[in-house]
């Protein structure tokens, strides 16, 4: 896996979907997480940190957002992917996330959740990305936490037990993580904000109902998990259904831990870190490893490298790199 991922790394930094392709923040996020799960010296050493920082700089936009790849689209996923890999590998240059906080905050809308870009509908995937990114940046308190809490708890379906991605849409197993995963983040944020009435045993969603939905409705009998009955299995849903199941099984904060395992003992999964979605031990180990290395000296600043994107024909309405 280390070797394959090394083949997916771009010479200009970051990881691509496959060998020879251009780097993109989503596979970069996935590759770094995978390497941290493996957690060996070999795995950590695959990552070219200097180039990775260059790559992140090349995606940074003047308004604080990031494009997903050179010549690509902007949305809040990129802030999360960038913050995740930068924090794990210890390459957080001082100004790298300048204005990113404000940009993410502008994605919180009238519904209380966050949208992909400012103005759009609140959506579970994007809300998770926005909040988790802010947690990494230490700025989650700047959100309207109460409004966000109301929005996310309202996304659990009273009949199915699973979560929907947006108001008035259908349940989907993957939101077991994107949506339910917000509750541990909110719990900690509210606690840090001085909230005294938080439970010490349960997250603020129906943990049992979510486990029931996942185990009873989202399993393929030949293996793997899925969106909802009738859909086909895939690795994305397998990952996020299981991640959500782990969240639903394990309550934990500073001093208190509480488990709810629906069904037999073997159903117990390992706990997952609500920001990175890999095991907390793996996060700690990676952070410890990369802290011993110094933050690379980024001689580059924000903006794409020359010749990496066709220059637009003379057109006054053409905006910054998108």
């Amino acid at each position: 896996v280390c070797q394959f991922l090394a083949h997916c790394q771009s010479p200009t930094g970051g990881f691509a979907g496959g060998p020879g392709q251009h780097a993109h923040l989503a596979p970069t996020y996935a590759a770094v997480n995978a390497l941290c799960i493996i957690g060996t010296e070999e795995a950590y050493s695959v990552i070219d940190r200097e180039k990775l920082l260059d790559f992140l700089w090349s995606l940074k936009q003047p308004d604080g957002s990031f494009v997903m790849h050179i010549g690509g689209e902007v949305d809040v996923r990129s802030a999360y992917c960038a913050a995740s890999v930068a924090s794990l590998t210890n390459i957080m240059a001082p100004k790298l996330f300048e204005d990113t906080t404000n940009w993410i905050l502008s994605c919180q809308n009238w519904e209380g959740g966050l949208s992909g870009v400012p103005g759009l509908e609140a959506h579970g995937g994007y809300t998770f990305c926005g909040m988790a990114a802010l947690v990494i940046l230490g700025k989650e308190h700047m959100l309207d936490l109460k409004a966000l809490l109301r929005w996310v708890v309202s996304r659990q379906m009273r009949f199915e037990g699973g979560f929907q991605g947006r108001c008035n849409k259908l349940v989907d197993g993957c939101y077991s993580f994107w949506q339910a995963g917000l509750l541990p983040l909110l719990h900690r944020a509210l606690f840090n904000d001085g909230e005294s009435e938080l439970s010490r045993q349960w997250w603020m969603f129906d943990q049992q109902a979510l486990q029931e939905y996942i185990l009873l409705c989202c399993q393929n009998p030949t293996g793997g998990l899925l969106d909802k009955p009738g859909k086909s299995r895939d690795f994305y849903h397998t990952c996020y259904c299981l991640s959500g199941l782990s969240i639903a099984q394990h309550f934990g904060n500073m001093e208190h831990y509480h488990e709810v395992i629906l069904g037999k003992e073997e159903n117990r999964l390992a706990p997952t870190h609500p920001v990175y979605n890999i095991r907390p031990e793996k996060v700690a180990q990676a952070v410890q490893h990369f802290r011993r290395l110094s933050v690379p000296d980024s001689s580059r600043q924000a903006g794409p490298s020359a010749d990496s994107e066709p220059s637009e024909p003379a057109s006054p309405s053409a905006g910054p790199q998108s």
């Binding site: 394959f4 020879g20 690509g72 519904e111 992909g116 759009l120 009273r158 947006r166 309405s317 998108s322």
Partner: protein
């Protein structure tokens, strides 16, 4: 698109070239009439003989190896060859279409196609037609919408956009990419004029379309804004009308709250009364939650003001009763949340607060039990 001369004996096979789309068909070339055109691999095409294909370099010990079809591997072997050479030619441009058809999510191919569009000064109007067809086929793909945006920007011509997006939305009224593109076009080219009407039509078709409610908020906040009292009054009326028609529509309630929350829900005179009326005939967990929000807002406004203690205690009691009702009966899936809110509000506005006033304590305990019957 692809040249086809010699007959091919290739048989159809199960395709793995579209990631999670096991039903995708492989079009070998349109076959109208008696003589079907046969597909020819790039490796067998004379006009490509000068180019050495580049196989994918997975390394010595590939993991999670994808079983590409022969056609897929052939096209992409040649794509990699072109990329390596940075060849900017018509044949390269033609090949990108094949590569896109095989995997429209390959952002590297799209990037290269854009480089070629510029380098070869291709007709962008033709490109608009092309991308229109691709999106119609695969509307839930990031790359295709981004590509369309780039072409629209280069042409500086949004004139087809609103109609095109409307057409996409008529097939899936909640397509996130479509809405994103729509908001970009409207904002960039200032096409606000007819959007509220468009939204209202969508809500007539489906009053539960949350994307449409969001667009409503988007249009108003960027045009008249929500400070104008006439606008707010109109919107409140609109919400209440929709609620009467479909009481269990969460979107309408969320919109009502979302619109008013910055100014304070309890600042609207008469609204609380209207909602309490609706409670008799059009009750829902959303209505009850809205009532709670009104009470909480009232508590916040009157917090630690003088001569408000009795009123505050009444309001707090009502707020707590709603939490209890929702947690135990009307919205039990959110029990943990409603119980937390109850504790939170009690802690903040309850008599056990900083001002430990023994008189207030006594009053709290003597509130008549009969009030609890009001809600059920």
């Amino acid at each position: 698109m692809s040249s086809a001369e010699e007959p091919s004996s290739e048989a159809p096979e199960v395709k793995e070239h579209k990631e999670f789309d096991v039903e995708a068909e492989d079009h070998f070339g349109d076959s109208y009439g008696a003589e079907p055109t046969r597909y020819i691999f790039y490796r067998d095409r004379k006009e490509w003989a000068d180019l050495e294909p580049v196989p994918q370099d997975d390394g010595p010990d590939p993991v999670v190896k994808i079983a590409y079809s022969e056609k897929f591997a052939d096209v992409y072997d040649y794509f990699r060859a072109l990329l390596k050479k940075d060849e900017r030619s018509e044949r390269a441009f033609a090949l990108t279409a094949d590569a896109i058809e095989l995997n429209a999510a390959n952002y590297t191919v799209w990037h290269y196609r854009r480089v070629l569009l510029q380098a070869l000064s291709k007709d962008l109007r033709e490109e608009m037609k092309y991308i229109t067809n691709i999106i119609e086929d695969q509307p839930k793909n990031y790359q295709v919408w981004h590509h369309r945006r780039m072409v629209v920007e280069w042409l500086n011509d949004p004139s087809e956009e609103l109609e095109f997006i409307a057409d996409t939305l008529s097939q899936d009224a909640k397509n996130y990419h479509a809405w994103q593109h729509r908001q970009w076009v409207i904002q960039e080219y200032k096409l606000w004029d007819n959007e509220l009407e468009f939204v209202e039509n969508l809500l007539v078709e489906d009053v539960r379309n949350n994307s449409a409610w969001n667009q409503r908020h988007f249009v108003i906040s960027h045009t008249t804004g929500f400070s104008d009292p006439a606008v707010v009054q109109r919107e409140i009326q609109y919400c209440l009308n929709q609620i009467r028609k479909a009481p269990h529509n969460e979107s309408a309630w969320n919109y009502l709250k979302g619109m008013l929350q910055d100014r304070g829900l309890s600042s609207r005179p008469g609204l609380l009364e209207k909602v309490l009326e609706l409670k008799e005939t059009h009750c829902s967990p959303y209505l009850l939650a809205f009532l709670f929000d009104c009470y909480e807002d009232a508590l916040e406004s009157s917090f630690q003001k003088e001569n408000m203690e009795q009123e505050q205690k009444e309001t707090l009691k009502k707020a707590l009763e709603i939490c209890e009702l929702l947690a135990q009966e009307k919205d039990t899936i959110r029990k943990e949340y409603w119980q937390f809110l109850g504790r939170s509000v009690k802690n903040k506005y309850g008599g056990n607060g900083p001002s430990n006033d023994p008189v207030a304590e006594e009053v709290k305990q003597s509130v008549p039990v009969s009030e609890a019957q009001e809600i059920s």
